[in-house]
């Protein structure tokens, strides 16, 4: 039976949840609302939440002002290129840390975890120096190649997941004479797709949202990613906020959609990566 205090607590919880959720959604709703307004309505006070008339033409206008399609394509290329590398390297390294024994393994594992704490800014300048000597400035390589050499967060996440898979399956495969790559391919991967999807989501998200990397390495407009393209748009465009909000909406939507469909895995990934250490 519920006491009066319980009911009051529930009511308070609801009110607080609703206020906080509204606060969190506010900037996004404000963005979409502004993206659909005619210019004169953007500068109206007090602001209107529901645009009237709804001006859909803001979207094509914003997307044609700078070559967003090209930026979109560039971002996809970098995302796919780094995703492939990230999967290959992190699965290999994660499997080794989960299953194989060797001298020095623990030390290496702690060294790897400690690099999680290293800010990008610390290695950014020498990395730039190295990549510019390779003449890789104004190519996508500096943004793709590092993904082929493992990422401590993903390695840790996959290792945690692999540790939960029963060893007997692999032993059986080994008796049948399967090598390690066959074992990973046939036994481990089919059982670890949730963890692998988490890595995919985080990797794509990281590429999609990265500004500093592209800012250093891509100086030609034809090579810009969406993030650089939007910044460029902000610099070029001096009109109303409605087109800027339309462009921002278009850039945020893919990540939001990806989150919507993968949210359970998304949240699981954070928990596995975060708590079970």
């Amino acid at each position: 039976m519920q006491t009066r205090a319980d009911v009051a607590m529930k009511a308070v919880t609801y009110v607080l949840l609703i206020i906080c959720s509204a606060g969190m959604l506010l900037p996004l709703l404000w963005m979409v609302s502004s993206a659909l307004k005619p210019n004169y309505e953007v500068f109206q006070f007090p602001p209107q939440w529901i645009p009237s008339p709804v001006q859909w033409s803001n979207f094509p206008r914003a997307l044609n002002f700078v070559p967003f399609l090209q930026f979109f394509w560039n971002t996809i290329l970098i995302a796919v290129g780094s995703l492939v590398g990230s999967l290959i390297s992190n699965i290999m390294v994660g499997y080794a840390f989960a299953r194989l024994e060797a001298r020095g393994k623990n030390v290496l594992f702690y060294v790897m975890l400690s690099t999680l704490m290293l800010p990008y800014a610390v290695t950014m300048i020498p990395q730039y120096a190295i990549f510019s000597q390779l003449h890789w400035v104004n190519t996508f390589w500096p943004l793709i190649v590092p993904a082929y050499f493992g990422n401590p967060f993903f390695i840790f996440l996959l290792r945690q997941f692999f540790l939960g898979i029963p060893r007997e399956l692999e032993d059986a495969a080994a008796i049948d004479g399967a090598g390690v790559f066959t074992t990973i391919w046939r036994i481990i991967l089919p059982l670890s797709w949730p963890a692998i999807i988490v890595v995919c989501i985080f990797q794509i998200q990281a590429t999609w949202n990265d500004l500093l990397g592209p800012l250093l390495y891509l100086n030609k407009e034809s090579l810009f990613t969406l993030q650089l393209g939007l910044q460029y748009f902000v610099g070029q465009y001096t009109g109303g906020w409605n087109l800027l909000m339309a462009a921002s909406t278009v850039i945020l939507i893919p990540v939001l959609v990806m989150f919507y469909f993968g949210q359970r895995l998304f949240i699981k990934g954070i928990i596995v990566g975060g708590v079970k250490g």
Partner: protein, 309 residues
């Protein structure tokens, strides 16, 4: 490759030793991408940047060795101190505030009410987006005349400040903005809360402990490992703030948001003082190292591990 080597060696002892050697080789083969990456993109660059920090280098001519010159110059650079000050204030305020807010949200999500998954999705949503688009949106949210923040303040008869256009309010605006993306910490706290055994709460309740007392005496102590994890993660994150300064304020107004990494980037890629920026990078590394070690060192005093795990 492996099988051939094993069959060639007769005798049980040698055989098992070589089997072990094989497994070790296999381990190192599999982790080789990470080892190469660590040497090429982390350790190597760190050493190289240590050397660069002792040089004057503009990317065009070869680096010129100047000893401790950059570090001495940094000590007398008011903008360096400004960037350190701004970033420290930002971190010192936004880290505890963000963690408290994340914990508050997690506690709300840990109640037994309907529709929790919808609230969880909404509260976490902002954390999946970041980058230029978010900064552009917040420029508009904080717009002094037509932004939504000042409009809402207006409903209550408060005349909002200039936010990112005001030297006084730009940094608070950035701190407010950081509260928008506490979702990751919130989820980790939520998982931590769900690991708190309900028996402990029931026992405390029988002893007559009220809601607040139980929260501070039962929940918080059991949550300390999670707090430690989130604390370290968010300190490191907040020290790296860059995009907001680059997109929203360009470090201004009057250097009010001249964050450390932004000033470092300016030195490196706008003024082409690579050596000087490398020195800043090393100082950033030492700061993060010292802060992390200090947090871990004090954690012995306040972190409580359940079952001594």
């Amino acid at each position: 490759m492996q099988a051939g080597a094993a069959e060639a060696t007769p005798g049980r002892a040698t055989r098992s030793r070589s089997l072990r050697a094989q497994r070790e080789t296999l381990f190192y083969v599999l982790i080789s991408p990470w080892i190469i990456g660590f040497l090429a993109f982390v350790f190597g660059p760190m050493m190289y940047s240590g050397y660069l920090s002792l040089t004057k280098w503009n990317l065009l001519a070869p680096p010129q060795f100047i000893g401790m010159g950059n570090y001495q110059q940094l000590l007398h650079d008011p903008l360096f101190w400004q960037s350190l000050k701004v970033t420290t204030i930002y971190a010192v305020v936004s880290v505890p505030l963000g963690l408290a807010f994340a914990l508050f949200l997690a506690v709300l999500l840990n109640q037994r009410v309907r529709g929790l998954s919808v609230f969880r999705t909404i509260l976490y949503l902002p954390s999946v987006v970041s980058g230029v688009a978010v900064s552009v949106v917040f420029m508009w949210v904080f717009n002094p005349s037509f932004g939504i923040v000042n409009s809402i303040l207006g409903y209550f008869g408060i005349k909002g400040p200039g936010w990112i256009e005001s030297p006084t309010w730009a940094l608070p605006a950035m701190i407010l903005m950081s509260l928008w993306s506490v979702g990751g910490a919130m989820i980790i706290f939520l998982a931590g809360l769900q690991n708190v055994p309900p028996e402990l709460h029931e026992a405390a309740q029988m002893d007559g402990a009220g809601m607040w007392r139980r929260f501070f005496r039962v929940t918080i102590p059991l949550l300390t490992p999670t707090i430690l994890f989130n604390l370290i993660l968010s300190i490191i994150n907040q020290f790296q703030i860059f995009t907001q300064a680059y997109v929203m304020t360009n470090g201004g107004p009057l250097n009010a948001t001249l964050f450390y990494v932004f000033y470092l980037w300016q030195n490196a890629f706008q003024y082409l003082n690579m050596g000087y920026a490398a020195a800043m990078a090393w100082i950033l590394f030492l700061i993060v190292l010292v802060v992390t070690v200090a947090v871990f060192a004090t954690s012995r005093k306040w972190v409580f591990y359940q079952g001594g795990e």
